[in-house]
């Protein structure tokens, strides 16, 4: 992404306090479903686009990956990844994922968690990923749901402060959005479901799974989690290169 909010000290300090930052995979609401979508990592070369703290890099390694390249544009993220999730076979690369140049057919698996809504040119990104993957290779990615990015990301409240509903608007106007995350202004890119899915089909991917994560019974006990049943926040897609 052009704007690298995650390297700003104040924002990063707040990000570091999030449950998913402190607890890793088990603090991430979608993990119980994403885990089930994960491919077999045994002996595989894995690319993690937007690796953050490196939780998924470490997971791939624990599941038998031969090599993992974790890429992130936030140096502060990688500093922590290199300490907390270090491994001789994990290579952390400091780069914007859009600017990466890698050899064709050099990876068996590409994973990307909650990064694609920061990418301005999704079509180009998918063309690149398609090239980096070997034939038969897997792409597994999560991103913010088109519903969630269309019109900012806050609820409509009543006078007593209760959430009335989630407002949808501007759905077919793709492009830049100024949203608020951790009380800071952040730039995202909205695109329709049509664009997310058809771009993959047009590039020669075969869709294997499409899942909108929701909280499981245990998570519904967490504060505010029941509201996550009211609108989808993420979309997760598993596909393979034909």
């Amino acid at each position: 992404m052009s704007e690298n909010k995650y390297d700003e000290e104040g924002f990063f300090a707040k990000y570091a306090q999030m449950t998913r930052s402190q607890q890793g995979l088990r603090g991430a609401g979608e993990w119980w479903l994403l885990k089930q979508m994960m491919p077999d990592f045994q002996g595989q070369r894995v690319l993690d686009l937007g690796c953050g703290y490196g939780w998924h890099c470490q997971y791939a390694m624990e599941q038998g990956a031969a090599y993992v390249m974790g890429v992130d544009c936030a140096k502060r993220m990688l500093d922590i990844a290199r300490v907390q999730h270090s491994d001789p076979h994990i290579e952390y690369v400091h780069a914007a994922i859009e600017d990466l140049h890698l050899p064709e057919n050099s990876f068996d698996i590409v994973i990307s968690s909650l990064a694609m809504h920061y990418v301005a040119d999704y079509e180009q990104m998918m063309t690149k990923i398609h090239g980096w993957l070997r034939t038969g290779g897997t792409l597994l990615m999560s991103f913010e749901h088109p519903l969630f990015t269309a019109n900012g990301s806050d609820w409509i409240y009543d006078e007593a402060g209760h959430k009335l509903h989630f407002p949808l608007d501007h759905y077919f106007q793709e492009g830049k959005r100024e949203a608020f995350f951790l009380a800071e202004r952040i730039t995202k890119y909205h695109r329709t479901l049509t664009t997310y899915l058809n771009t993959l089909l047009q590039r020669g991917f075969v869709l294997d799974q499409i899942i909108e994560p929701y909280p499981n019974e245990e998570m519904l006990e967490w504060e505010g989690m029941k509201d996550e049943l009211r609108r989808p926040m993420m979309l997760m897609i598993a596909a393979h290169k034909q």
Copy 2:
């Protein structure tokens, strides 16, 4: 569907006044995109589930279909179809599409326009369609978008009567919805995007195209059409049996 609103005289009279009823395909906002998704009908056996007035049956025949079966639960619809879109090779069948029993591998193409959100058991319906299609056969269907069915289907207005936004709620609570269509209460079934798409993948369909229709430039001149850029109303899916 269990409740057959389209055979009630008052409701049907109003439906008959809609642009899509009077003008057929060119009065249907999604047709310019749906037409591009249509398979090659030449010599094919076609099943149209929820055929209504028979516009798509007639279209398939004009494009060279060998045989078309149009099925609808509304007798009033079929009465008009048999007059307006009659052909020796079109057979109109009065039945609820969920209750149909047809031979395995008996169709090359199944189309269904705006009917699936009336079907209570989508999983069973897709199992049946998968059976009726030959290997390699095409399924093309449109239905109301999960965003549109989740929480009724009306906008939130300000005091001056302007549309503020479209309210989203209850997304992960699948099941029956009482909605208003043509000022009458009608029963629909809401299901998530995950259910719509993954059910197809689990049955052995390969997804070919996923499109949310929007008005083209000409249609944006029609009254109220600009609001159709604010939220998706339909989802159209093309798939084939592996």
